[in-house]
Amino acid sequence: MEVTSRVLDPAKQARLLTALYIAQEQYGYLTPDSLKRVAERLDLPDAVVYGTASFYTLFRTRPVGHYVIQVCTGLSCYLAGGAERLVEYLERKLNVNAGDTTSDGLFTLQTVQCLAACGNAPAMRVNDELYDDLTIEKVDMLIDQLRERAERWMALRES
C-alpha cells in the first residue's frame, strides 16, 4: 500500500474556522456532508477538519434548536445567586433537561462556564445575543417573546 503525506496549504488552513462558521449557519450545526465540503474546498484532510471542529465548543456536530440558550453557571453567576434557579426554571418552563432540545425544536438549553459578564450576573446568551442582570421575570418574558417570534415566522413560511 502506498503511503502519501499531504502538504497542507497554510493560507487555506487559516480559513478553516471561518469556513466552519459559514458551514454551520446553513443547518445550525455541522452536518457530516458540510464537514466534507469544507475539507474539499480548503484542500484539507477530513480528519483535520473534523479534529479542529470538534476541538471548539461553538462548533456543533449535532442538531440544535432554533434558539440556543446558554446559561452561565460560572463562579460569579453562582455567587450572584441566580444561575442555578435560572437553569431549573428554564428546565421546567421548556420541559427539557440542560443539554437537550425541546421536542418542537425551538429551544436548546445549555449551561456554559463564563460569558465575561460577571459584573452583571447572572447572564446568558440566546444565539449570539447576551442578556445580563437576569431575573426569573425577565427570562420568562424573553422566552415568551422568542416563542411568539418563532411561531409568527413559521406561520409566515407556511402561508
Binding site: Q13, L17, T18, Y56, L75, A80, C118, G119
Partner: protein
C-alpha cells in the same frame, strides 16, 4: 479614588464612544501622528522606560517583548488578544465595546515599533457585539487613512483583520491563539521558541492583550515619566479591575496599580451586599490563589500579590462572603478548568477531571477521608508538569482553598454536609 484621572476608560460613558468621530473629537489618533515621527527604537525605549507590564494575566514587561522582536525586513506579525475568558474577568469586553479605537491606535503604534505589517485581532467567539464593534472600527480607521498603505504619509503599511475564536479558553494562551489563528486546534506549543522568534506561520509575532495596547497611545502622548507617576515602582500605570461576587456594586473600576484591595471592595464596589462579613477573595481571576479576610488591605500590584502567595492575574476580583461553601467554589472553578483543558498534556487533561470528580463527591456528601490527600497528590502531579501555564492555573485555587479551609473539607467529608449550611 479621589483625584485619579481615568485614562483607559476616559471615553466610557460618553454617547457613541465606540465611533471614530467621538474618538477623534476626544483627541484620538494624535499619539499615532506623534509616534510616526519617532524612530521605532525611540518608541521601544519609551515603552521599556514606562515599565508597562502586560495586562492579560502574566504581567510580562511590554517593552521587553517589543525588544525581543528581531530587527530586519522579514515578515512580522502582530496578534491582538481579545480572547477574554478567565472567570471573573470582563474588562477587555468593556474596552472593545466602548473604545475600540484606543486599542487600534495602540496596535498601529506597536506594529510600527516592531515592524509588523499585518495584525490579527483574535476575539472570543461569544463576543458578538465586540466582533461587530471591532470590524466597524477597523473599517473606519482604514477610511481615515490610519490603516492600509502609507499610513499618514509615513511610508508605513499595516493591515488589520478580525478573527473569531470558537469557544476555547486556552486560546488566550499566546501560542494556542497562534495555532487557532492558523486554523488548527487551539493547543499550546512548546516554548521556547517564543512567538517573538517563531510565531504565526513561523514568523516573528508580537502578541498583546487589548488592555496593554490601550495604554500605548497615552504613554506616547504624555511620556513615560507621567506613566510611571501612576502606580508603584514596579507596577506602573492604571489598571482595570473587574469586581464581582458578593458586593453591592460589581463592575469595572479603573485605578492605579497598588490601590488597596479594601478600597476597591469597600469604596468602589460599596462593600458586602448583605449582612455577612467577607470570607475570602480571589484577587486576579479564577487561576489565582485566594486571599483571606485579614489580607484585604494588600496593595493590588504585581509584587505585593506575589509576596502574599497569590497573583495579580487579570485583576479580576471575586469576593466571597461568610457562609459560602468553599468546596462548592473549588468545584465550580475545577469544572471550568476540566472543561477547558485542551487535552494535550496528560497531567492537566486527566488531573483536572479527577479533581472535579472528587470535589463533586465531597459536595454531594460522598467524600471519604483519603480524598484530601488524594487531591493534594493530584495537584503535585499537575503543577509544573504541563506545557502551558493552565495546569498551574487549575491547581492554584484548589490548593489555596485546601490550605486555608482544610477544616471545612474535613467537616464536609465527615458529616456529609456543609459546615457553612
Amino acid at each position: 479614588m479621589d483625584g485619579f484621572e481615568r485614562v483607559l476608560t476616559r471615553n466610557v460613558g460618553i454617547p457613541n464612544s465606540e465611533t471614530i468621530a467621538v474618538y477623534l473629537d476626544r483627541g484620538g489618533y494624535t499619539a499615532l501622528r506623534k509616534a510616526l515621527q519617532m524612530s521605532p527604537d525611540e518608541l521601544i525605549g519609551m515603552v521599556k522606560d514606562s515599565g508597562l507590564r502586560g495586562r492579560g494575566g502574566a504581567g510580562f514587561p511590554a517593552g521587553l517583548k517589543w525588544g525581543f522582536m528581531p530587527k530586519g525586513t522579514m515578515t512580522k506579525y502582530m496578534c491582538v488578544n481579545t480572547d477574554e475568558g478567565e472567570p471573573g474577568t470582563f474588562k477587555d469586553r468593556l474596552l472593545v465595546e466602548h473604545d475600540p479605537h484606543s486599542i487600534i491606535e495602540g496596535v498601529i503604534i506597536a506594529a510600527y515599533a516592531v515592524g509588523a505589517s499585518r495584525a490579527f485581532v483574535y476575539i472570543r467567539g461569544e463576543f458578538f457585539l465586540g466582533v461587530k464593534r471591532w470590524i466597524k472600527a477597523i473599517d473606519n480607521a482604514y477610511a481615515h487613512g490610519f490603516l492600509g498603505k502609507d499610513i499618514l504619509g509615513s511610508g508605513f503599511d499595516l493591515d488589520v483583520s478580525v478573527h473569531r475564536g470558537a469557544g476555547a479558553y486556552i486560546c488566550g494562551e499566546e501560542t494556542a491563539l497562534i495555532n487557532s489563528l492558523e486554523g488548527k486546534r487551539g493547543e499550546p506549543r512548546i516554548k521556547p521558541p517564543y512567538p517573538a522568534q517563531t510565531g504565526f506561520w513561523n514568523q516573528p509575532t508580537l502578541v498583546h492583550n487589548v488592555e496593554t495596547l490601550a495604554n500605548i497611545p497615552h504613554i506616547v502622548n504624555r511620556g513615560s515619566s507621567w506613566f510611571k507617576s501612576i502606580g508603584t515602582e514596579q507596577s506602573t500605570g492604571p489598571k482595570l479591575f473587574s469586581i464581582s461576587g458578593h458586593v453591592r456594586r460589581p463592575g469595572n473600576y479603573e485605578l492605579p496599580l497598588g490601590t488597596p484591595l479594601s478600597s476597591i471592595i469597600y469604596d468602589c464596589a460599596e462593600g458586602m451586599r448583605g449582612d455577612r462579613p467577607l470570607k475570602a477573595v480571589i484577587p486576579g481571576g479564577a487561576s489565582t490563589p485566594m486571599l483571606l479576610a485579614d489580607q484585604v488591605d494588600i496593595p493590588m500590584d504585581f509584587e505585593s500579590l506575589i509576596q502574599a502567595g497569590s497573583m495579580l492575574g487579570t485583576g479580576a476580583i471575586m469576593v466571597l462572603e461568610e457562609g459560602t461553601c468553599m468546596i462548592e467554589v473549588a468545584r465550580r472553578l475545577m469544572s471550568f478548568f476540566a472543561h477547558e483543558s485542551c487535552g494535550k498534556c496528560t497531567p492537566c487533561r486527566v488531573g483536572t477531571l479527577r479533581l472535579e470528580e472528587i470535589l463533586a463527591r465531597i459536595v454531594e456528601g460522598e467524600g471519604n477521608p483519603a480524598d484530601i490527600g488524594l487531591m493534594e497528590g493530584i495537584c503535585t502531579g499537575i503543577d509544573g508538569n504541563t506545557l502551558c501555564p493552565m495546569g498551574d492555573a487549575a491547581v492554584n485555587p484548589i490548593r489555596s482553598s485546601l490550605q486555608h479551609f482544610r477544616d471545612e473539607y474535613e467537616y464536609h467529608i465527615e458529616h456529609k454536609q456543609c459546615k457553612e449550611a
